[in-house]
């Protein structure tokens, strides 16, 4: 698959690059951001996949989160894809900010007119890693995943649905129980149809209740002053209860005074990268 470099900037002794390619899963051109730490010049590095939230592109994370310093120090490649296929000209894709463009919800859609292009789950878990592993000095055995909000939901479900694939998982203000919140219900009914049993396949809380696989170590940060927390879109208590019952190790931190913004991500991204480094560099 041909990759074209869109941009390259030196950052923290490494390089923040953006590439574009033709995606076979999504049937369109897709961009992704990739940070290559200094260590990548001489040896293979582990990879952290970052999934952004609603309305974001591959740019938000690399310009606002300040992850490059920690990634450079720990020698980790950070890959940040876009949040949905673009330019597919599907009717209604730009109608809402929380459904369609910029709101892929990291599922493989089964409903028309979405099912051809909206296959973000396969893109993130299969196509993208293959692409990264063959084009960059990435260690194929060492992958971790993280994300914010919708991307947090994406990270959690990718990890829970693929036991052993990711060495560690973390999330910022994730949508923990989409089938119970307005966002999730809107997206799933659009992408997956009315059958709620198909929704459960992409719900972190439900997946946790039936998880069996290698031990996970999940770190979740949640801003206390997050408006979406108070409007019951995120529902972390449900996930915590499920993980407590199934003895899935989670450390959930309610951070006083923080909201849903990238300022919140910036404040704690180092802790998350350190958390991943523990497992990726072991």
């Amino acid at each position: 698959m041909a990759l074209t470099q869109v941009s390259s900037n030196k950052c923290c002794n490494g390089y923040q690059k953006v590439f574009e390619h033709d995606s076979s899963e999504l049937k369109c051109k897709m961009k992704f951001a990739i940070y290559l730490p200094p260590k990548a010049e001489s040896s293979k590095c582990p990879v952290l996949y970052w999934l952004s939230g609603l309305t974001c592109t591959e740019q938000n994370f690399i310009t606002k989160a300040g992850s490059q310093q920690a990634a450079s120090e720990h020698g980790i490649i950070v890959v940040a894809p876009d949040t949905s296929p673009r330019g597919c000209n599907i009717e209604g894709e730009d109608e809402s900010w929380d459904f369609g463009t910029g709101a892929g919800f990291y599922v493989n859609a089964t409903q028309e007119p979405w099912k051809t292009n909206y296959r973000m789950y396969s893109y993130v878990t299969e196509e993208l890693p293959r692409l990264i592993n063959s084009n960059f000095p990435a260690d194929p055995e060492k992958m971790s995943i993280s994300g914010h909000s919708m991307g947090g939901h994406g990270a959690l479900i990718c990890a829970l649905k693929n036991p052993g694939k990711y060495k560690s998982v973390s999330a910022f203000a994730p949508i923990c129980n989409p089938i119970q919140c307005a966002w999730g219900q809107k997206a799933f009914s659009g992408y997956l149809g009315p059958d709620k049993s198909t929704w459960e396949l992409y719900d972190a809380t439900v997946l946790a209740e039936s998880y069996s696989g290698p031990e996970l170590d999940i770190l979740i940060d949640q801003g206390r002053d997050d408006q979406f927390l108070s409007s019951s879109q995120l529902l972390p208590d449900n996930l915590i209860a499920a993980c407590s019952k199934k003895k899935i190790p989670v450390v959930f931190r309610l951070q006083q005074g923080y909201d849903h913004s990238y300022y919140f991500i910036f404040s704690f991204i180092n802790d998350h990268i350190k958390h991943h480094a523990k497992y990726l560099n072991a």
Partner: protein, 609 residues
């Protein structure tokens, strides 16, 4: 002949011998002879020829064999003679020494004698002077007496003459009447005068009283001239370094005169603070022939006063000056339960082992290899108190022991202690424990028992926790990295963390700014975890209950981290610049038990994320 002459004679003998030897060797050269002797009779020891009638029954040897035999014999005689020469040479040098010694001894004796006679002469002349003075005095006294007698006589004479003159004058008076008036008193006076007896005896004897001079001491001195002098006082040597043990002293003294001494007598007594009066029972003595001896059965870390006298046939010398020696102390006793160590240091504490103070302590340590050999022992000296912080290498085992030192030297080594720098080793400070907290025998498990002790039964002190049922641990006072774990049950409500040594004893761990801790609370609905400092905790939910908690402290990085050690899961980290040394702290909020695991080093996931 004197020694030198004897020596030179010997030299001559050697030379002559070698000449003789050379001459003998020539004898073995075959001399051309008409009879051509071709054999040697070993009996007659002459050259002959085979078939000679004179030597028919004698053992005959070939000239070659005979020559060899003779050579052997000669070399044997030669070596015997060489030995004799060596003996003679030794004897000669011995004679030389004796010669010199005789001279010396003679010189000494001469000196001695001179001194003695001088003393006698001095005494005699003193006596003479004294005697002469006494006689002189006597003479003066006698003369005085005589003189006064003479004066008296003169006076009497004058008085008599005067009387006669006045009587004559009266006698010559013409006037009969005047004469009659004056004559009667005059006659009376004359009669009176002539009736008085004139003492014509001599008041003084003409003989001189010559007292007998006491010359007994002079006689004694004359007698003792022929005797050896009693020795002069020996001199005690100062104590030699490292010559003492804890129960014995090696004492040396010297004699600085050339006196003959038969034996020495060494005296000693213990110097103790209370009594300065010396009773005879306190003093021990020992008869010794050499100028040194070892005194045993002494007390450790004690001062002894020693003095020595020298004795010969004449008598005992005066006592030497008293020297003070000190026995070394008893070895100290290390207190293992109060020693702590980490990856790069250990703090060792011990008991002195001596009732009286010692000067200092020396700590010795060496690595204990698998084979225990080829490791140098390092020492730290001049330690003033009963504890010492020693810097060590990480990941090794050491054997550490201590010695007590005083002016007599160092004591034996104490019983050693094994120290491992493979982790953080510490113990709980029992005197900080809240009275309701009891510790197991090995000091690693603490219990808050269900029985409510009445307040009156609890003894509090300044260092015990009074409200929080807590206890502090001890840690090496070095700003390094430390790691330990605790084990709890599901329902144990505990606090675990660190605190400054002076953390308030009447407040709860984590409730003030001098302590940081992780706290577990059991509520009806769930398990709650807090990370307390200054009374504040972040809001953290943990889904899998940690029952084995790892605590990691790094002074340099300013962090205190807590982990679920079983899952290697990071729970929380405090970031703080710690101003003082920290102590691990533990508390139980409700009846339960908590077990401490020490001797661990921080796992890789903790130090290298």
């Amino acid at each position: 002949m004197d020694a030198y002459e004897a020596r030179s004679c010997l030299d001559v003998i050697t030379e002559e011998l070698s000449e003789e030897e050379a001459a003998d060797e020539d004898a073995f050269v075959m001399v051309p002879d008409s009879h051509s002797p071709d054999a040697f009779c070993s009996q007659c020891r002459t050259l002959t020829h085979t078939g000679s009638a004179a030597h028919a029954c004698h053992a005959l040897l070939t000239p070659a064999a005979a020559a060899q035999q003779m050579k052997d014999e000669l070399s044997r005689s030669r070596s015997k003679l060489s030995e004799k020469i060596v003996e003679m040479e030794n004897f000669a040098s011995n004679l030389e020494e004796i010669f010199i010694t005789v001279e010396e001894n003679f010189g000494r004796q001469e000196q001695n004698l001179e001194q003695h006679y001088n003393e006698v002469l001095q005494t005699l002349s003193q006596r003479n002077d004294a005697r002469a003075a006494a006689l002189d005095e006597q003479k003066n006294r006698k003369l005085e007496r005589l003189y006064s007698e003479l004066l008296q006589c003169g006076q009497t004479l004058d008085a008599s003459k005067e009387l006669i003159e006045s009587a004559q004058e009266v006698h010559r008076r013409q006037d009969k009447r005047a004469f009659l008036q004056a004559v009667m008193p005059v006659i009376k006076r004359v009669e009176q005068f002539s009736s008085t007896e004139v003492d014509l005896k001599l008041g003084v004897s003409l003989d001189f009283d010559v007292p007998t001079t006491d010359l007994s001491d002079v006689r004694q001195m004359m007698d003792s001239i022929n005797l050896l002098p009693a020795p002069s006082a020996p001199v005690m040597n100062p104590q030699i370094c490292n010559s003492a043990t804890d129960t014995s002293l090696h004492v040396c003294w010297s004699l600085f005169s050339d006196d003959t001494v038969e034996f020495y007598e060494l005296h000693w007594r213990l110097i103790s603070d209370d009594c300065t009066m010396e009773t005879p029972q306190d003093v021990s003595q020992l008869k010794v022939k050499e100028t040194h001896c070892t005194v045993s059965d002494l007390l450790p870390n004690a001062q002894y006063e020693l003095w020595v006298t020298a004795t010969n046939t004449t008598g005992i010398s005066p006592a030497s000056e008293r020297a003070v020696y000190m026995t070394v102390p008893s070895p100290p006793v290390i207190k293992p339960r109060q020693c702590v160590s980490s990856l790069d240091a250990a703090l060792i504490r011990w008991d002195s082992g001596n009732t009286n103070p010692v000067e200092s302590y020396t700590l010795e340590f060496r690595e204990s290899d698998a084979d225990g050999s080829n490791t140098a022992t390092e020492s730290i000296v001049a330690i003033p108190s009963c504890e010492c912080l020693v810097q060590l290498q990480p990941w090794k085992r050491y054997i550490i022991s201590v010695r007590a030192v005083n002016i007599g030297g160092p004591s034996e080594r104490s019983e050693p202690i094994d120290v491992s720098t493979a982790g953080t080793f510490f113990h709980l400070l029992e005197d900080t424990a809240h009275p309701s907290l009891s510790l197991s025998a090995n000091g690693l498990t603490m219990f808050y028992l269900d029985e409510d002790l009445p307040l009156s039964h609890m003894t509090f002190s300044d260092s015990t926790f009074a409200r929080c049922v807590a206890v502090l641990g001890d840690l090496v006072p070095i700003r390094g990295q430390y790691y330990w774990e605790i084990e709890v049950d599901e329902d144990t409500e505990f606090r675990v963390g660190v605190a400054y040594e002076d953390t308030q004893r009447n407040s709860y761990l984590g409730g003030n700014n001098t302590s940081w801790c992780m706290r577990h609370i059991v509520t009806p609905s769930r398990h709650k975890y807090e990370f307390l400092h200054n009374g504040w905790t972040p809001d953290i939910r943990i889904t899998v209950q940690p029952l084995r908690i790892g605590v990691f402290l790094d002074y340099a990085a300013g962090i205190l981290s807590f982990y679920n050690a079983a899952l290697r899961q990071h729970l929380h980290t405090f970031s703080c610049h710690f101003l003082h040394y920290l102590h691990p702290c533990f508390a139980l909020d409700n009846p339960g038990a908590l077990t401490l695991r020490t001797g661990l080093s921080a796992p890789a996931y903790v130090t290298c994320p």
